[in-house]
Amino acid sequence: MGSFCFHTSAVPSSHLLSGTDCTYGLGGLKLGNLRKIPFSRTHKASKVLAFYGLKKPPYKLDALEPYMSKRTLEMHWGELHRGYVEGLNKQLEQNDILYGYTMDELIKATYNNGNPLPEFNNAAQVWNHNFFWESMEPRGGDMPKLGLLDQIEKDFGSFTNFKEKFVDAALTLFGSGWVWLVLKRQERRLEVVKTSNAINPLVWNDIPIINLDVWEHAYYLDYKNDRAAYVKNFLDHLVSWDVATARMIRAEAFVNLGEPKIPVA
């Protein structure tokens, strides 16, 4: 997730598993707690300035042409997403308690059960955008396969029906927000969910599988007001079902989706 305690060479960790924060990779060692001692104050060392870093998308900025232009990525990732990261770091500088959280915990804590703290917008938007870049790939689209397809067909009836619901959610979202394919923990099924502004399904403890940014800045340079064309191109040409499958596999470690088929001898 671009956090400070990220990726030593000893820890193999797929960039596909973007929900992972570094604590899992390092055998549960919570580096976040170590940093609760403000190093800079005790040793008058140089101040730690970066808490979260801007993570690069897993492709070049022009790789999603012509469905999402290089210009859009330069603005959306290079300026807006970077702005959220820098804004978040500035806010965390002032706040020792939040400084020690992992990204996922930070989002839930600052959501504050519906009464969000000022850090929530930046934290959630950093997370949402990381998730978004990784939800896409050049020459994406097409269909999910095997287990994920089975689950979609089980929960939506058919893949076509899922796409219709997804498009409908995107077009009926008033204002700014995100559309999600999410695995709901309680209901133990996949659903399409739309959220306003920066809200994401982590705050309800659900597991997102893919997301789509429908803030106007995400599509205005390429599609002007034609949100429908943008959503269609996302589903037909950009969405990465490989990444979605990897996320689904990880999600199944936390949510029991059904009885295993144990072969009878």
């Binding site: 603005m75 300026e79 807006l80 702005g83 917008n121 008033f174 204002g175 700014s176 927000g177 306003s196 502004n197 920066a198 803030w215 106007e216 800045h217 205005y220 340079l221 002007k224 007001n225």
Partner: protein
């Protein structure tokens, strides 16, 4: 025979024909149309580009009008059928699209080309009221700009007058909520559209630049007229 006559006269079959509109309106359903801009699309350059004005008016505002009319027809139908759940379900579409139509209709009047008075400070009673309630015009602009910059997502920043308390207010509303949703006695004088479609093509992510510049084309004459009417 009677059956086929009834089908001929039903609302659905008449709606696409012009006579259907006439009949619908005699039954009390008024629909709306896109108001014309009182100036050319390019008249607010370089503050707001002609491309933005055209898209904003012809696409965004038109869509709100179209969808508002659609929702009104569905509402009328649901009310006549006595279908309360559809009536209630339509409320968010009515608020969003109706609000979009209301807000943008005001917005076009809030703007004027520089050679038609755009940017000229308010005089008369509104000018005095601004000085009284905010200290100065500059201070009001700074307050509204700060509110606009801080607004997350889509929405509007308003200068309004509370016609009961006889006082100016600065308020923000989310999405297309009209100012009246913040208080039934509030009347909008100036609305600043801070949806991204209002500035993105020209100002990109730099919303503060858009807010600083838009004052150059604000039509204070309209705001003064409304204010004088409400405080009479």
């Amino acid at each position: 025979m009677a059956l086929s006559l009834r089908n001929l006269v039903s609302r659905n079959s008449l709606a696409p024909l012009p006579i259907g509109r006439l009949l619908l309106s005699t039954r009390g359903l008024q629909t709306f149309s896109l108001p014309d801009l009182p100036y050319d699309y390019g008249a607010l350059e370089p503050t707001i580009s002609g491309e933005i004005m055209m898209l904003h008016h012809q696409k965004h505002h038109q869509t709100y009008v179209t969808n508002y009319n659609k929702a009104l027809e569905q509402l009328d139908d649901a009310m006549n059928r006595g279908d309360p759940s559809t009536v209630v379900k339509l409320q968010s579409a009515l608020k969003f699209n109706g609000g979009g139509h209301i807000n943008h209709s005001i917005f076009w009047k809030n703007l004027a080309p520089v050679n038609e008075g755009g940017g000229e400070p308010p005089r008369g009673s509104l000018g005095w009221a601004i000085d009284t309630d905010f200290g100065s015009l500059e201070s009001l602009k700074q307050k509204m700009n700060a509110e606009g910059a801080a607004l997350q997502g889509s929405g509007w920043v308003w200068l309004g007058v509370d016609k009961e308390l006889k006082r100016l207010v600065v308020e923000t509303t989310a999405n297309q909520d009209p100012l009246v949703t913040k208080g039934p006695s509030l009347v909008p004088l100036i609305g600043l559209d801070v949806w991204e479609h209002a500035y993105y093509l020209q100002y990109k992510n730099v919303k503060p630049d858009y807010l600083n510049n838009i004052w150059k084309v604000i039509n204070w004459k309209y705001a003064s007229n409304v204010y004088e009417k409400e405080s009479a």
